[in-house]
Amino acid sequence: GELYCSLPNPRNVHFESVNMKNVLHWSAPEGTGDGVLYKVKYSVYGVGKWIRKPECRNINRTWCDLSSETSDYEEQYYASVKAFLNGRCSDWVETARFNPLTDTKIDPPVVSVSSTEKSIAIILTAPEKWKRSPAGESVSLLQVYPGLQYNVSVLNKKTKKRWFFSISNNTLLVPWLEPGTAYCVSAQIRVPTPLLHSGFSKEHCISTLKDKTSGETA
């Protein structure tokens, strides 16, 4: 049976989600040092039962990866944590309702660039949704969010002039650039609805090729 639960509760029980890798996090009960153990359960909203997570039973860490259990993003979930110490226990403490589709954070896109004398070609790749194993089927977040768009920033390092582009497909050709000049490209993902956006990727710098004609006449 349940022990008398007089231990303070775990605090700040919440999901942290990136690209739908959904990890439950919490803080240790107030005033407890080492030695606290935890167990975790979760439930699908609207379905009657709580399900224990065996891999997160009697653990002393303060997180538990529930990505597998919450991978159906057409469902919503609750998770709950209970603490144990020296024969005492806490109450179960629940998360707010978790909606993987709207509550996940999205990583920036992968940016690859190539150049000619007067243009830069940019190819953007959206991150993949979390998957159970590397061998598992890859699902791009583009499939999860069909309205996904990219915001692209292009900086002329010499003049410090910057352009912004908002595109829906994943390639962009920037024409009419100066030969032999360094340009830096950075990109961000934006999902119009449900409203989500990633941070900007780190800058990828590349130089346009030198103008062959100017080389010959000199």
């Binding site: 439930s43 909203y45 609207g46 057409e74 707010a96 909606n99 709207t102 609805t193 449900p194």
Partner: protein, 146 residues
Amino acid sequence: GSCRVSMSITEIRSGFNTIKANIQARDPIRTLSILSYPHSLHKVKSSDRCCVSHQLFTFYMDKVFRHCRTEDSYINRKISSIANSFLSVRRSLQQCQEQNKCVCGQESTEKLKQVLVNYEELNVTAAAMKSLGELDILLDWMEKES
């Protein structure tokens, strides 16, 4: 058939996001979902989408928003602005239905019956608050296919 209706879903979604945690926290019942029990909205056939959307908007107008008063005036203002957005969307869906593009198949009728059965399982206030807390389930479904 498919019925392209310009929906201010984004407007509804952003309004709902500001009150979602508050509203869902008022719903202690984890074991019942008004919109998703026993089957997810995502199981609804494409051909039934227009009718189910229209009927669900009517459900929210008639049975949800009017029963969702809280002690918090900010929350109440947000609820009524969502309701107003719903009104304009439902008007668009109404036009679609009248132009007979909105086919109400047997499956959509069953789904809507189940929504009402789930709703009547609870007292009106609890059922209305739970339905309001499930607005993102409706929006996720509508956005997925739009």
